[in-house]
Amino acid sequence: MPTKAIGTVDLDIEICKGCELCIKVCPVNVLEMSREFNTIGFRYPILLDGCTGCEMCALICPDFCFTAIYRNIPNKRAAEIQ
């Protein structure tokens, strides 16, 4: 019986262009856009509690802001990547 997935992400908000694609794909809605602007002029996502480390955001981000994903349950795909 699988444990509940718990995860987090490394996120470089300074290169984010505020496209909100990550916001749309997060299955558990734990990403939310800031009110503030980063130094290149865009709003950026803020990680709320409850991330499962599912990688969706990292897969879709066109600006490679998500630099690493952490999770308690390694999966096939994780193995494939490392």
């Binding site: 009110r35 602007f37 130094t39 002029g41 865009f42």
Partner: protein, 195 residues
């Protein structure tokens, strides 16, 4: 008399449209006017620099000019670019939402406007250039904000019609900002002309 305005920003900030609107508004107010847009070949993220030359008489200069009465920077990348064209006694307008380092230029009057922030509050994150123009036109009397709005309607291409209301809002928000923070601005565009 002639007034030159140079505005720099990055692709996507709407600098080209904003300055074209400015030129159109000036024309509507019967100024002589010329507009020139320079961008580095690509639309994506590169620097954009637009020039508006306007005056009470016919214009002689070609549209790429060494210095300007008012230079505007919308983005940190373009600060050095437009700063090089600033003129002693002239204005240097900065979008302080993105340009957070303080700017100082010998003999040049710096005007700070948190344009992107104001636009963001209107949920028009890319509307900073309009906010800034609305503010500085109101402050300097370069052209009326009503004419800016008319220019906006004239120039917005068919595939962007739905942006008209939110850009109108942006001009008006700039106008409001100026009325509050730049009232009795001492650098009036046409002061000499009026005299």
């Amino acid at each position: 008399m002639e007034r030159e305005i140079v505005m720099g920003g990055i692709g996507g900030q709407g600098v080209q449209l904003a300055t074209k609107i400015l030129a159109t508004a000036l024309n509507r107010e019967n100024r002589s006017v010329m507009h020139f847009a320079a961008f580095g070949g690509t639309m994506r993220g590169g620097n954009v620099e637009c020039t508006v030359v306007t005056g009470t008489e016919a214009l002689a200069a070609p549209p790429i000019i060494p210095s300007a009465w008012m230079v505007i920077s919308m983005h940190p990348n373009t600060v050095p670019l437009v700063a090089a064209k600033a003129r002693p006694g002239g204005l240097f307008v900065v979008n302080t939402t993105l340009i957070t380092e303080p700017t100082e230029l010998e003999g040049v009057n710096v005007v700070e406007i948190p344009a992107s922030w104001i636009a963001g509050e209107l949920d028009n994150t890319q509307g900073g250039a309009m906010v800034l123009l609305g503010a500085i036109c109101q402050a300097t009397g370069l052209v009326s904000v009503e004419q800016l709005v008319e220019g906006l309607k004239e120039l917005t291409p068919p595939y962007r019609q739905k942006t008209i209301p939110r850009n109108t809002q942006a001009f008006e928000a700039g106008d409001a900002f100026a009325r509050e923070h730049l009232a009795n601005f001492q650098h009036q565009a046409w002061a000499l002309a009026a005299a």
